[in-house]
């Protein structure tokens, strides 16, 4: 098989090795928190782990767990869709890095399903040092390893939250909030910063008026307000 040829093994193993460093630690800690969070939200063990392996995007997973008690499939669909909508531009940016300017092939669906923000970020850093034929095996090695880490972390967080003292269990539950605060705090550029600020204001405000819809409606209103402000600001300059 071409996938297992000697030429592919070197970048594949390089991807595995890189995934076991800082990216793996970041994925483990955040997904460990999600496992505890899912337990508190009433998920069973299999549902918690499967949501990591099938959704493979922490914001969408946390939205799923947060909105699941609302009992509305519509609320969950739109909440998860907007939380993960960034995968659209992310796929646009990631796939050309893997295959150059190649035309669409069905395997691109697999790349899009496996990718995450962390693998996009890693690819962006590695592309200058990787030959084009090495990028796909590197991507497989990296992203499959972090997915396995995420599954193990979710299972660990789910189990551990049930057996550790209460104060430690509470720490696991706060992990997703701190994760998103820091990810949001690290954004760069006028529009992303405006979006983060507007989201921080609109979502809780709408949540108080329309319980369970705050994330979806507040997110759309906040993002649209930021987009409008950015547009006006840019025009004024």
């Amino acid at each position: 098989m071409k996938f297992l040829s000697e030429d592919c093994c070197v970048p594949l193993l390089l991807g595995v090795r890189h995934a076991l460093g800082v990216p793996g630690i970041a994925v483990f800690s955040s997904m460990f928190g999600f496992g505890a969070f899912a337990n508190a939200a009433g998920f069973d063990f299999v549902l918690a782990v499967m949501s990591t392996l099938t959704l493979w995007a922490l914001p969408g997973q946390v939205v799923f767990a947060e909105l699941y008690p609302s009992g509305s499939l519509v609320v969950v669909f739109f909440g998860v869709f907007f939380a993960n909508a960034r995968f659209f531009p992310l796929a646009l940016a990631t796939i050309p890095m893997l295959e150059g300017a190649a035309r669409f092939r069905p395997i691109h669906f697999v790349y899009a399903q496996l990718m995450s923000v962390i693998s996009w970020s890693q690819l962006t850093r590695m592309v200058p040092t990787l030959q084009l034929p090495d990028r796909v095996p590197y991507f497989y090695g990296f992203t499959l390893t972090v997915i396995v880490i995420a599954g193990i972390a979710t299972a660990s967080g789910f189990w551990m939250s049930a057996i550790v003292p209460k104060h430690l269990g509470l720490v696991f539950l706060v992990i997703p909030a701190l994760y998103f605060i820091l990810i949001s705090a690290g954004v760069k550029g006028r529009l992303p910063v405006l979006s983060v600020l507007c989201g921080a204001v609109f979502v809780p405000m709408v949540e108080l008026v329309l319980p369970n819809w705050g994330l979806v409606v507040g997110g759309v209103l906040g993002g649209s307000a930021a987009f409008a402000i950015d547009h006006v600001w840019g025009a004024a300059q």
Binding site: G60, Y68, A83, N84, A102, F109, F180, G223
Partner: protein
Amino acid sequence: MTEISPWAFLLVSVLATTLPRSLGALAAGRVDPNSRVFEWVTAIAYAMAMGLAVRLLLLPTGPLGETPIGDRLVAAGVALAVFFIMRQRFLYGFVAGVAMFWALQF
């Protein structure tokens, strides 16, 4: 809770996740990722990510909702302060925030 199977919620969530991923795969190489529509979608995604964090901190459900709001805000403040002091290194801010929240729960 709800009468609908939790697996139905997972299926809906998988569809909602697969849709933007698949559309992105189909459009890769054909659509300009710098267009205004993409900027708008990205702005909503950023707003939702931060809104989710604020909602988890201010209006949490479950056992986290039983903790004092001050503890959650102090932990977030420490995480942010360390994050920026350490030149935006995620792990330092993350560990500092988690450690602070743990200390406050003793």
